[in-house]
Amino acid sequence: MYETTYHRASSVDEAAALFAKGKEAKYLAGGQTLLPVMKQRLASPSDVIDLAKIKDMVGCSGTTSGIQIKAATTHYDVSQDATVRKAIPALCALASQIGDPAVRHRGTIGGSLANNDPAADYPAAVLALNATIKTNKRTIAADDFFQGLFSTALEDGEIITAVDFPVVDKAGYAKFPHPASRFALTGVFVARMPDGDVRVAATGASQNGVMRVGPIEAALKANWSASAIDSVTISADGLLNDIHGTADYRANLIKVMAQRAVQAAG
């Protein structure tokens, strides 16, 4: 790791101010992505600004329209949270499958979303659930937030403070883990909204990161059942192709994981 300067922020405003002062600053939440990248010397921030101890950025709560997860809440805390479990149990299930137990004790939802790893789990949930990302400057709709591999709508220095999830009728997540890294080789999140709309998002599969899966959304909108996906064809075009999964295999996994997610959703 290159030398850097560590700052611990006590408020969002302080964090933003520290960022503005740094030459090439980065925010550090749980550090479970940033620190491995820094260890490999693939990132060399002049300053790292620790957000994890900002009290306003931690916790889960009910809102008028659903639930809110503050950005520095760890995966473990989300997986155990009673409010989240009652409203969207699939989110708890997803959080409990990220990384491994030690990673879940540190990693945060905000860090995961800001990084937008193409094989991360949370982006699938946020996109399928049509969540809203709140930052220190604005709110961003999920459909606008994810902009390809490791790329988001966040501006330089902008901090995710929370994610608002609307109440949904049904939701489920199924993940086929990458054998080595245990990220998602393909993970699919399915959600049915109270108005009957269906949103489906897949992670780990596409060369462009998390994506909506239109054909499956249409099939499920017509008939919310695993068997409704049987006849869907997923194109392998644009899907990742590597030693752990060819593009056609990943196309198959999108279908199979979607079916299992529907079964999990009930």
């Binding site: 790791m1 290159y2 030398e3 010397r41 086929f176 054998p179 080595a180 890294s181 030693i243 752990h244 999964g245 060819t246 295999y249 198959n252 996994l253 199979v256």
Partner: protein, 779 residues
């Protein structure tokens, strides 16, 4: 068997320090004034070094030196060696390219060291390494073994035209041709034995400390064989004469073969320590393990087996291409030859065998012995062959094996080995019973009715361990003898130190070797210490690999104990005024048989050291040394059967059951033996399902971290049912055979046989990843 003697599952003496965080591994050691090394490694698979500019790096904080490959050559440090000479079919010697510790002119694999930075801290060394400018001229590279021998392929070494190291043969070609001519059926098979990375959990490390006043070096290193390391560093690399070089291998965190070899980093650390006049420490990171630890396996094989009309095997023909990587590692040449082709008879009567092995250079990390070393490749080939044959001949795979088993011993195979003892029916019967083989068709049918794919796979392996005798291996080209040594010191108060030339890096020697003493001399294991891993303390020994430690090292201890007993009996007889022939040893007491007269071992020891009342002419003291050279290999064998279920939708395999029935001869500590089997099985299953070191066509590694190379984890594996059948090894007094590699040798074929049975498609290569299995199911 006493509570601590042979056959007792004694908990391990060494555990307390490991479970309390008090183990002492190389990286835990700090010396006063210690500096830190960081290697600059080639990012190219094949390139000329046009220049190295370290001027900027030298200005950076904490930097003491930047040393290059040319300096190593200038200082006349020797090239790395390969210690086993192989002769090609045409009588020519193997073609070995030069391997300097750091490349002066040409790099031939990604990760090869070209220079080293020595600095005050590890971070400073790494920071400065980025400021060293190495100017490369890239050359065309080749990673695939078949591509490397094709006309026009990039050439690695001028010494080896066509990239061919040797083209070797074993067996009787004419006899095999005749056997195939009269065959009723011929079964053929093409398969790949995938390249693996050993990945001991402790990365390699070295600390070199040069004492200028004494002109003496101390090297702390992660070695399975510190004496061999000293010998090679001294005799071949000109680092220092043996008496001026102390090699210490303290606690070592796993080896699996990868820590047998003397790597460039240790040599460079020693050399650099003298150059900078301070201790130099290097600790590899995992990426360096992937790039520079000797890899394992990597064969491509075509094989054919001939059967008569009664399904008896008539002959076997094997042609293997072995990928050696860019240089010949220390024992690389022996692995696909004398550790592979000599095991091609397996557990079967095969009247005629002919094997050809071509060893080939590629622009990849060097390949050498990894847990099993040659024997997993032989076993995988044969057991896939038997399964394929059973399916083709439409007979039960277990029955086909039984029909062809060797049942009388000793048995001379057509490929050098003389099997001394075994009962292959006993092992397979035990395994079949444990897994309820007879009930499998019903289980498969039930699974099918539930939409699931169920399969069963058998693998019957035999291996040769405790490689020996020295005279025989010498005649086959080995550069060393493969005996072992032991010294037993009975101290004046009766406590005992056993100095062994083997080295424990997980094998539990500190417990099992004590059990040998407890069994024979009746001394509690708490009063016995095992000393190993330090060339200044221990007499020359050959180290630990090839499942040799109990069969060879343990026997050396027994031989030394015999000498101790002999002298102690004389002392006891003298003290008790009895005839030496009337002295018997029971529970640590030297008794005059038929009387109540006795003297305890501590009193005998005290008498030996006070020397007040010894028989006339006897030397004082009670300390004996033995060097033991075995008369034959040992032949552990067994049967593994696994039952799997494959998820047709994802191609993912899960285990229903995994049964092992091994014959290791006498077990010293069954708990430890079973632990060795579990670990071996995990590595065999890892090879079958998960692990694969992949290079792209340009020689760039694709799987150089745990993010891409799939290590077996707890949820990839089942619990194992391990059991034992026993035929004693006749060639050593303990009747032991060795258990360290069996699991890794036998498991992979059982897994692939089970999966191919489940999916009804025999064409499936290792590792059987979900992606590959799914394609094999769905086309």
């Amino acid at each position: 068997m006493g509570v601590e003697g042979i056959g007792a599952s004694v908990v391990r003496k060494e555990d307390r320090r490991f479970i309390t965080g008090k183990g002492r591994y190389v990286d835990d050691i700090k010396l006063v004034g210690m500096t830190h090394a960081h290697f600059i490694r080639s990012p190219h698979a094949h390139a000329k070094i046009k220049g190295i500019d370290s001027s900027e790096a030298m200005k950076m904080p904490g930097v003491i030196a930047v040393l290059t490959g040319q300096q190593i050559v200038d200082d006349k440090i020797g090239n790395l060696i390969c210690g086993w000479a192989i002769t090609s079919k045409d009588g020519s010697p193997m073609k070995m390219g030069a391997w300097p510790a750091m490349a002066p002119e040409t790099v031939r694999f990604v990760g090869q060291a070209v220079a080293v930075v020595i600095a005050e801290t590890k971070n400073q060394a790494r920071d400065a390494a980025e400021a060293v400018v190495v100017n490369y001229e890239e050359l065309p590279a080749v990673a695939d073994v078949k591509a490397a021998i094709a006309p026009g392929a990039p050439q690695l070494h001028p010494e080896a035209p066509g990239n061919i190291i040797y083209d070797w043969q074993l067996g009787d070609e004419a006899a095999v041709k005749a056997a195939f001519a009269k065959a009723a059926n011929v079964v053929s098979l093409d398969l790949t034995n995938n390249r693996l990375v050993p990945n001991a959990m402790e990365p390699r490390a070295a600390i070199a400390d040069y004492d200028a006043a004494e002109e003496h070096f101390t090297l702390y290193t992660t070695s399975q064989n510190p004496h061999v390391a000293r010998l090679v560093l001294s005799a071949f690399y000109n680092v220092a004469p043996e008496h001026k070089l102390r090699v210490i291998a303290p606690d070592v965190g796993g080896g699996f073969g990868s820590k047998i070899y003397i790597y460039p980093e240790e040599m460079v650390a020693l050399w650099a320590s003298k150059k900078v006049g301070r201790p130099v420490k290097w600790t590899g990171d995992r990426t360096e393990s992937f790039l520079t630890d000797a890899h394992g396996r990597d064969h491509i094989t075509h094989a054919e087996m001939a059967f008569d009309k009664d399904n008896k095997i008539l002959g076997l023909r094997v042609k293997t291409h072995a990928n050696f990587g860019a240089y010949m590692s220390l024992f690389s040449s022996a692995v696909p030859t004398y550790l592979y082709a000599t095991l091609l008879s397996g557990q079967y009567v095969i009247p005629a065998i002919y094997a050809e092995v071509m060893a080939v250079y590629t622009n990849t990390t060097p390949v050498d012995a990894y847990r099993g070393a040659g024997r997993p490749e032989a076993s995988y080939l044969l057991e896939r062959m038997m399964e394929t044959a059973a399916r083709q001949l439409n007979v039960d795979p277990a029955e086909l094996r039984k029909k062809n088993f060797i049942t009388t011993f000793p048995y001379q195979t057509p490929v050098i080995m003389t099997y001394d003892a075994g009962d292959f029916n006993a092992s397979i019967d035990a395994a079949m019973k444990a897994i309820d083989y007879a009930g499998f068709p019903a289980r498969k049918a039930k699974a099918k009715s539930e939409g699931k794919l169920r399969g069963i796979g058998v693998s019957c392996y035999i291996e040769a361990c405790g490689i020996a005798p020295s005279k025989a291996v010498g005649s086959l080209g080995a550069g060393v003898g493969l005996w072992e040594s032991a010294e037993i010191r009975v101290n004046p108060v009766g406590t005992i130190e056993v100095l062994t030339g083997t080295h424990s890096h997980g094998q539990s020697h500190e417990t099992t070797f004590c059990q040998l003493i407890a069994e024979r001399l009746g001394v509690p294991i708490s009063q016995v210490s095992i000393v190993h891993g330090d060339t200044d303390k221990v007499q020359f020994g050959m180290g630990t690999y090839g499942s040799r430690s109990i069969a060879v090292g343990g026997t050396a201890i027994v031989k030394a104990m015999e000498k101790i007993e002999s002298k102690a009996k004389k002392i006891a007889a003298h003290a008790l005024e009895a005839s030496e022939n009337d002295i018997v040893i029971e529970n640590g007491e030297f008794k005059v048989t038929g009387t109540d007269k006795s003297i305890a071992l501590p009193m005998v020891a005290l008498a030996a050291y006070t020397a007040h009342n010894l028989p006339d002419g006897m030397e004082p003291g009670l300390k004996e040394t033995a060097f033991y050279d075995p008369t034959n290999f040992t032949f552990p064998a067994g049967a593994y059967i696994c039952e799997v279920e494959v998820d047709a939708a994802t191609g993912k395999t899960s285990f229903v059951n995994f049964v092992a029935a091994d014959d290791f001869g006498r077990l010293i500590n069954p708990m430890v033996v079973e632990g060795q089997v579990h670990g071996g099985l995990a590595q065999g299953i890892g090879q079958a399902l998960l692990e694969h070191a992949v290079y792209n066509e340009n020689g760039q590694p694709v799987t150089a971290s745990f993010m891409d190379y799939t290590m077996p984890r707890a949820d990839d594996l089942p619990s194992f049912q391990v059991q034992h059948t026993t035929t004693l090894c006749p060639s050593n007094p303990l009747g032991v055979k060795g258990c360290g590699e069996a699991g890794a040798i036998g498991a992979s074929a059982a897994v692939i046989n089970a999966i191919t049975d489940a999916i009804g498609n025999n064409k499936l290569e290792m590792p059987a990843t979900p992606d590959r299995v799914w394609h094999a199911i769905h086309g």
